[in-house]
Symmetry: C2
Subunit: 533 residues, 2 copies
């Protein structure tokens, strides 16, 4: 084939696998006319996940755990878009529009799939509505804000029951990410609580749920036991052999039926294949794309996969590679070399890599690590953790910023400002288990509810007769509209009859939609007229 145009290489996914493939390709293919490299990523930055938990406590500046992709691979065309569809037949990637509304398409000769996996709460009632995931920078920020808001509320809340839920923090998942998250969250809420006049340290409860008999299954037993002891000493309550089954607005529901009142529930466990990967017609193993030893997808020449979304067998051990950043970076280098070899017609190499070690921070100057087979714990492991991750953090400016943050953090109290970004309208989903109060007569009315699934009872207290059921509502029916239209207090109590999923629409969204859409206005006017009789 006569070389008329550069080879088009499109990488989808801006995690470690994708970005390091672009970096390696730039080095191998240079900035010359041989190839054109494009990277499509949802965000314009690479998140350094190992440091994410420190965002909770604010010991690292919010943006210091992330590195602008443009700075890491400056000759790559970066498209900050969400990939919508991959068409292997036509060799084309379709992505969302940006500011404008034109759809965006990119043709490729080589496609590198580096889409990682996604958080999925499917099958766990109430988790999508009320549990916080912990995977992206936005998640860490949300968790931090939630924790601060819970302390704010507890500080002025008189009801002991409500206080208990506000001051209980549940983290599900005892792997590296759950342990690091619970350690930082625990340190943070206990230190921050000192700034709140009416919150006593002993009121705070931080719970870690883990499905197996010992946390950190990735590590040798002795290290995991060390970590467990350290966490317990710091005040974390560890519930072993326990799974998170579901969540409501103010409780974590455990698999055995136990209910822990908690306003803040974090789940680090569930991850599912990216729907884009699931939709690909190629062969998969446990949801991950099967590749050959050169990281190319069998039967689809020119299609490659790397990182957490790829099922890669180590050429030496024959074992599947674990989904870690360490592996993704090595895979990316091998993959880039094999693409270059394919373009130039030279020999490809199989992928093999011995992991250097594993580390987990326990916060507060303690950690556990296994490096080159050596087990290390406590302060030395923590020092190692910081040093290694600082070295690995991409970009010199980031290294400097994080080193400074850490230094300041030794001197300064934790930050308790709550950072909100404005939202003018809000629609959210809520989940209730049977017999929970959704709102009470006399409460302030800020939300209109639509029943999506299940049934609720509308009750009114009648002197001498207690609560009387006015009506029972099911899917497609609304409640809460009277207080919302009249700006008055709730005129009735609503309680879930079964397990219920709701759509909650706030006052502003309600006003905007329902005053401007005549069919809705008509519907609600009629409904309110009927119900207020």
């Amino acid at each position: 084939m006569a070389k008329e145009r550069p080879t088009r290489i499109v990488i989808v996914g801006g995690g470690f696998g994708g970005v390091y493939t672009a970096i390696a390709l730039e080095k191998l293919l240079g900035h010359g006319p041989e190839a054109e490299i494009a990277l499509i990523s949802k965000e314009n930055y690479l998140t350094f996940q190992p440091m994410l938990p420190e965002v909770i406590s604010g010991s690292i500046g919010l943006v210091d755990t992330i590195t602008p992709i443009r700075r890491l691979c400056s000759s790559t065309h970066l498209y900050t878009r969400t990939v919508e569809r991959i068409d292997l037949e036509r060799k084309r990637v379709i992505a969302t529009a940006g500011f404008g509304s034109r759809q965006f398409e990119l043709d490729y000769d080589h496609l590198v799939v580096a889409l990682g996996n996604v958080t999925s709460f499917a099958g766990q009632p109430g988790l999508a509505e009320h549990a916080l995931p912990f995977k992206y920078l936005g998640d860490a920020l949300t968790l931090r804000n939630r924790a601060i808001q819970a302390l704010e509320e507890a500080d002025t809340e008189p009801s002991p029951e409500a206080r208990r839920a506000l001051l209980t923090f549940v983290v599900a998942g005892g792997g590296f990410s759950g342990v690091e998250a619970v350690a930082e969250l625990n340190d943070f809420v206990r230190a921050a609580a000192k700034s709140f006049r009416h919150v006593e340290p002993e009121e705070i409860r931080v719970v870690l749920l883990h499905a197996q008999g010992l946390i950190l299954p990735e590590l040798p037993r002795s290290l995991a036991e060390f970590a467990q002891r350290i966490l317990i000493r710091r005040g974390v309550e560890i519930k072993l052999n326990t799974r998170l089954h579901g969540a409501t607005v103010d409780a974590a529901l455990l698999a055995g039926g136990e209910r822990i009142p908690a306003r803040t529930v974090v789940s680090t466990v569930p991850s599912a294949p990216n729907p884009l990967v699931a939709a690909l017609p190629c062969k998969k193993e446990k949801g991950r794309i099967v590749v050959d030893q050169h990281l190319e997808v069998p039967d689809y020449p020119g299609v490659w996969a790397v990182g957490d979304c790829a099922w890669i067998l180590d050429a030496k051990t024959g074992e599947p590679c674990p989904p870690t950043a360490q592996h993704a970076i090595r895979e990316a280098k091998c993959l880039a070399a094999n693409i270059a070899a394919t373009i130039r017609g030279t020999v490809r190499k199989p992928f093999a890599f011995n992991a250097l070690g594993k580390m987990g921070s326990l916060g507060h100057r303690s950690a556990v690590a296994e490096v080159f087979g050596l087990k290390i714990s406590g302060f030395l492991a923590w020092w190692l953790w910081r040093t290694v991750y600082l070295m690995k953090l991409p970009g010199l400016d980031r290294k400097l910023r994080v080193a400074t943050d850490w230094t300041l953090d030794l001197l300064l109290p934790p930050d308790i400002v709550q950072l909100k970004t404005d939202k003018s309208f809000s629609i959210r989903r809520e989940h209730f288990e049977p017999d929970e109060v959704i709102f009470r007569e006399g409460d302030r009315g800020d939300w209109l509810y639509v029943v999506v699934e299940g049934q609720v009872d509308v009750l009114r207290s009648v002197p001498g007769r207690g609560d009387v059921t006015l009506r029972t509502l099911g899917p497609g029916e609304c409640f809460g509209e009277i207080a919302l239209v009249g700006e008055s207090a709730r005129t009735a109590t609503v309680r879930s009859r079964s397990s219920v999923n709701l759509l909650a629409v706030d006052r502003d969204a309600f006003q905007a939609l329902f005053t401007n859409l005549p069919p809705l206005r008509g519907f609600f006017e009629q409904l309110i007229g009927m119900r207020s009789q």
Copy 2:
């Protein structure tokens, strides 16, 4: 009156006036049983506005311009709530609920109104929908993200027209806040553009609009002229005697009829009285609460006002006090002393204060200042600006953090990460001037539109006949639903016939609402059936 319970002092508003009143009251009344101080603030932090522009460029860490209120006045009861109503008759403040839905009320003996003013775009078409305000931390963050997104889009945008709008940044208002914002924004986009491969420095246009003949009317003529020269040399285009009249999604509309294509329009001009202040029955001057020389509201003993929402005449000069942080802090001290004097039955003092000086940063190591009558400009003024504001920044930890930020900033390139927080559903308002295209046939369909005001034409191109008008839609009518339901491309072009206000509902919000609300589902099924014939 026998002293049976502590005097209840309630402060509403968490700006400089409110927070410094609490600080001064704590000092005067101590932590004893004499008085109970409560502060109601929307945010749990105090924003240090003079440093807000530096958040745009990232030269100060996001949260370093704000200080947790709890740290500043630790004996005050802080309620992080939005005040809803002030009842002067019953001496009661009513605020929103927190996590729960119970309304929240606080009775007072002394009320300090420190509600500042609010941004208001009333009467300027399209500003509420498309212009960015610049008053709170969230605004600075939004502006920063918008600027980065515009560069991201421009980097991959082929149309020269669309590029022009993406790379033009318009700031309205040549007072201190507008000048500081435009200076930082200009420095930032020009420095950040270097990381984008397809953005040329000469394509970037930064425009400052000012209604008078010279910017910075607060300063002496020579300093204002100096500032103007510096900004022009750095590439800011200054349009004098020009007002921003309105905005659309991709243009700033000037009062004379000129239209500047721009995706990013910032307005620092409009501020209106807080609606809570407007609703108070007491006497006002230019929307500000008239107080006596002791800062108490005439005819309402026990009600006080301070800061931007108060109309205060200086006891020495007889001039009204300007709305600056400098004045608010001094007023707060005087007010606190007078409340203490009232409680203790001692003598009150009238308010008088000579401002120390005025300063404005021009970014990039230049500034203008007038201090004790001296005029200073250039590097010296900039050094003074940083030193004075660093000293004034509340909290030692903040001082240290900002000093460090500034040091790093001298060494490191600007940060270009775009920080998004997740929103699952979105409803927004949009404004179009006559004859603008809302979307085009073949575009991707992500939004459903409801006409709020005005009319739009729905057009389809017919071979040989050009664009044919299918129908004209008015208030209460919808368009865009076909592409949204079928996930297909737009089947028609929609253009504004008059000036139009729209409500735009995104795909997720549409799906959630319209699949769960039967009257809406019925309505849209019918509509789509009718229109697709």
